[in-house]
């Protein structure tokens, strides 16, 4: 997989070890993840981005959001992404970390 150029998919790993496979294109909506994949460090070489301080519950939502964002890019009548109220605070922290907070307008 390493030899045929970069794979279309990358893996996001949560602090508690859960893995989420998402499209590279979707993941790069986060400048932080894009930075990880751009520079020749561990993440770029392995295609795996580990987040030591994001739990699986939150990272799952992040992965869902990234796919959701790619799917409905440039579309009208977009359905809401359901985020349970109890996760909101943590989601905001994660969004800040991932640089996803500024571009959501």
């Amino acid at each position: 997989m390493a030899d045929d150029g970069p794979s279309k998919y990358i893996t996001l790993v949560s602090s508690d070890g859960f893995e989420f496979v998402v499209l590279r294109e979707a993941a790069c909506a986060s400048p932080t993840i894009a930075g990880m994949l751009r520079n020749q460090m561990i993440e770029a070489r392995t295609g795996r981005c580990s987040f030591a301080e994001i739990s699986s519950i939150i990272l799952e939502k992040v992965a869902e959001y990234l796919s959701y964002r790619l799917k409905y890019k440039d579309k009208l009548d977009v359905p809401d992404l359901d985020i349970p109220v109890e996760y909101c605070l943590e989601m905001i922290v994660a969004a800040d970390f991932l640089g996803l907070d500024e571009q959501m307008a």
Binding site: G35, M41, I42
Partner: protein, 838 residues
């Protein structure tokens, strides 16, 4: 409630718990990874870890400390690891060759040292650039929050700017002191790059890619960390120097070319240089410079010596035009239109050339006339036409030939310049109209142009009958219209054309359809007014044809089977539409005192005239018909009786011929009907009996008694001239192979006017113009009521410009005349303003 409060707790807590002291461990981590990044050992680092470290520092509000630390780290890195390498590349040799005039060293040597130096710069730049990109990514969170909040330049801008401050602006300390002037590495860099570019211009091969890397670097660096678009080092430092150096280079080159080579070489060279420089922007330096360097070439290589090159003796623009050097001219056009939207230099040169060639045409014409005395008509062969006429028409025919030669030459010139416009000048409108203007200028300088153009048309339409295809006629018509466009004094042309057209129509010399077609085109070109009279002429011809037919029917219906009845074909001309020559019976009044009044027709003809007039007045009362014998012709059936004593040969039989003669000739011949054999009539007797103008009579007698083709009269003495004392008798021995004989006519040929005649025509034309000017003034004043002298004059000139160029003096005189006649008055107070008096 309690349930809910439990949930959002976990992640945030640990972060908050860690204390301020966490900065140092985080920085240590970052610092060691910065070293790894610079030494290209980044692959084992975890981006997430580093990012998180900087993230935490920033969250602890230590962003400014991190910012400073990174900056200091980079500066130290430059000082300790990069500068030694660069300083090593800056040898004394390099500095002296780059900054002082390169004298001792060979180009090859210079290129080697120079390229080595540039490569060093490029390598350290690309390392730095890459590292800075990586670091900026790692410190992304710092940029997003701290730098944005405090409006500082991004961490990337700051660290990349260090390259500028530490490398390019490095004064090299004590490295090279003996050169006096302070300088920085950037100076050396520029000098080396420019030297390399100049080497390439001189034909060397250089490492374009390397130069492109260097210029790209300069494009990514700015004067300050604010990174203003206009403050790229490329634009602020490199480009001005590049342009200056290029300017000097091309100035020298241009002077050298002017000294050592010719216009054609210069043209090609300049074109090549333009291409080269265009090419260079993109492969070697930035696209941003493309227009500016082109402007330098425009100024130094084109504009600077443009006039010198174009005017160069024997190889300049004149020579190109004369020899149809289309490729060179096309380059000239391209270059000139680059530097001058109005294309002045080219335009002027073209105009001058057109004028000169035009005047030359006129000059050769005059010389041809002088070098060809009337004797060698044969040389002018193509026009000498009918042999019997050649003798008597020599002068006139030659004049006509001259007119046609002039028109042909002008048309050839016109074709030539049209071709140039299409092939070389991209059908440029400015140039085309300039050329057109010059054409009409020189054509109008030539006094006889109006007459010559009309003669040209005359000649072509007359010959048009003889098996020419429609396409050929088309070409001739087009040419005629082209020339017509150039003529300024169209009223003069109208006058001549009317005269020539009248001759052609009355003598049936041309195809009526072609005539109409030409008139139609003139109308399209000049407007209804211009062809008004011609249309009237055509109409007269049509009506006359019907009239003749109807009259013939009328006579037949009378049942008067008179064998002596004369068949009549008549042209009734409306005197307004036709030139006075055609509608007045004679112009020769005063030539001999005699000939005044109308010609006396033979009784048969007289009867015919009366009969027709009566018929004509049946439908139209109150009209007056004037018979114009000078414009008509007659077919006469002649019977030559057998000559007594001749038993063999043609003379032994009775001979019948049909003789076609002008009306005057017919009148003369009819006199001999009543004469007994052997009797003669003297010139004076004939004149007394016919009341013919002397000149017409001389012409008629000459054609009937001198030219062998139709010598039905015998002259005594048998000389070649007609004298008033000559006697004429019937020639019973006349023999001809043809049954139908056309007596040579003298007035059917359109010939050039003599000096006297032309003056007369001009005078007449001037009179007409005066009326036209009068009318224009009155019309204008009636409409405007008050006008100043200048306004009025301008208005009149504009109004009349389509017909002729009014003379200002004439306008003034006409205004004065109208003042006297009280159509206008000067206003009180301001005597330059006129008022219209109703």
């Amino acid at each position: 409630m309690a349930n809910r409060a439990n949930k959002p707790r976990p992640i945030r807590k640990p972060i908050m718990n860690k204390e301020v002291s966490e900065f140092e461990p985080c920085w240590d981590l970052l610092r060691s990874s910065l070293v790894d990044i610079h030494t290209k050992n980044a692959s084992r680092l975890s981006f997430e870890q580093l990012y998180r470290a900087s993230y935490k520092i920033v969250l602890r509000k230590k962003g400014d400390l991190l910012y400073k630390r990174v900056k200091i780290f980079e500066m130290e890195w430059f000082r300790d690891h990069i500068m030694p390498v660069i300083t090593g590349l800056v040898s004394n040799n390099l500095v002296s060759t780059a900054l002082v005039q390169p004298s001792g060293s060979s180009a090859h040597e210079r290129r080697e040292t120079g390229e080595r130096f540039l490569r060093g710069i490029r390598d350290s730049w690309s390392d730095h650039n890459m590292s800075m990109n990586m670091i900026a990514d790692v410190l992304m969170y710092l940029d997003r929050t701290y730098t944005a909040e405090y409006k500082k330049p991004s961490i990337f801008a700051t660290t990349i700017g260090l390259f500028r401050d530490n490398i390019l602006r490095n004064t090299l300390g004590s490295a090279v002191q003996d050169l006096g002037e302070p300088f920085v590495i950037f100076d050396i860099l520029n000098a080396v790059v420019l030297d390399l570019i100049n080497m390439e211009r001189d034909g060397d091969n250089i490492d374009r890619n390397l130069l492109r890397n260097i210029t790209t670097m300069l494009e990514s660096l700015y004067e300050t960390d604010d990174e203003l678009e206009k403050q790229k080092l490329y634009l602020t430092v490199f480009e001005p120097r590049f342009l200056e150096s290029s300017r000097a280079f091309y100035r020298n080159e241009c002077e050298r070319l002017l000294r050592e080579s010719d216009t054609s070489t210069w043209l090609r060279h300049t074109r090549r240089r333009l291409e080269e420089e265009h090419d260079r922007c993109g492969t070697t330096i930035s696209h941003l410079t493309a227009e500016k360097i082109a402007a330098v070439i425009d100024a130094e290589l084109i504009v600077a010596k443009l006039d010198d090159f174009l005017g160069m003796e024997g190889v300049g623009l004149k020579n190109m035009i004369d020899n149809d050097r289309v490729e060179d001219l096309a380059i000239v056009y391209n270059l000139v239109s680059r530097v001058d939207k109005t294309k002045m230099p080219l335009k002027n040169a073209l105009q001058r050339r057109v004028m000169d060639l035009g005047v030359e045409v006129e000059k050769t014409l005059r010389e041809t006339d002088f070098s060809n005395p009337p004797a060698n008509v044969a040389a002018d062969g193509d026009d000498g036409g009918d042999k019997p006429k050649a003798q008597t028409l020599t002068a006139a025919a030659q004049q006509t030939a001259a007119a046609i030669k002039w028109v042909d030459d002008v048309l050839r010139l016109k074709d030539k310049f049209d071709d140039l416009c299409v092939t070389c000048f991209n059908k440029d409108l400015v140039l085309q109209s300039a050329v057109t203007k010059s054409f009409s200028e020189f054509i109008n300088l030539f006094k006889m142009s109006s007459e010559y153009v009309s003669l040209f048309i005359d000649d072509n339409l007359k010959r048009g009958n003889k098996g020419r295809s429609d396409a050929e006629i088309e070409v001739v018509l087009d040419k005629a219209i082209v020339l017509l466009r150039y003529l300024g004094d169209r009223d003069m042309f109208e006058r001549y054309y009317q005269k020539h057209l009248a001759r052609r129509l009355l003598h049936g010399k041309s195809e009526i359809e072609t005539e109409k077609e030409l008139a139609r085109r003139m109308r399209a070109e000049m407007g209804n007014h211009f062809t008004h009279k011609f249309d009237g002429m055509f109409k007269d011809m049509e009506i006359s044809k019907d009239l003749s037919d109807n009259y013939r029917d009328h006579i037949r219906n009378l049942g008067d089977a008179d064998s002596k009845q004369v068949d009549l074909s008549i042209h009734v001309l409306t005197s307004n539409n036709w030139p006075p020559e055609a509608t007045r019976s004679s112009q020769d009044e005063g030539s001999k005192g005699k000939g005044k009044g109308d010609c006396i027709f033979p009784p048969e003809i007289k009867r015919l005239q009366d009969s027709f007039f009566k018929y004509y007045l049946r439908d139209r009362s109150g009209r007056v018909l004037t018979w114009v014998p000078s414009a008509g012709s007659a077919d006469i059936k002649c019977v030559f009786p057998k000559v007594p004593g001749k038993e063999t040969g043609p003379l032994s039989k009775e001979r019948r011929y049909e003789l076609n003669v002008p009306t005057y000739g017919m009148v003369v011949l009819m006199l001999f009907n009543d004469l007994a054999d052997g009797e003669t009539l003297s010139f004076e007797e004939i004149q007394a009996k016919t009341n013919m103008p002397t000149a017409d009579l001389v012409r008629s007698l000459a054609s009937l008694s001198i030219a062998p083709k139709a010598r039905v009269l015998l002259k005594e003495p048998a000389t070649k001239n007609i004298k008033p004392t000559d006697k004429f008798g019937f020639n019973p021995q006349f023999v001809s192979k043809a049954i139908k004989i056309k007596a040579p006519t003298l007035n059917g040929v359109s010939k050039v006017e003599g000096e006297e005649e032309r003056k007369e025509t001009e005078q007449k034309n001037n009179q007409t113009r005066q009326h036209v000017v009068d009318a224009a003034i009155v019309r204008t004043m009636k409409q405007r009521k008050n006008l100043s002298h200048i306004q009025l004059t301008t208005e009149i000139i504009t109004q009349l410009s389509s017909r002729f160029k009014p003379d200002i003096g004439m306008i003034k005189r006409r205004i004065e005349d109208l003042l006297v006649r009280e159509y206008l008055e000067r206003t009180e107070g301001d005597s330059t303003v006129y008022r219209y008096l109703a």
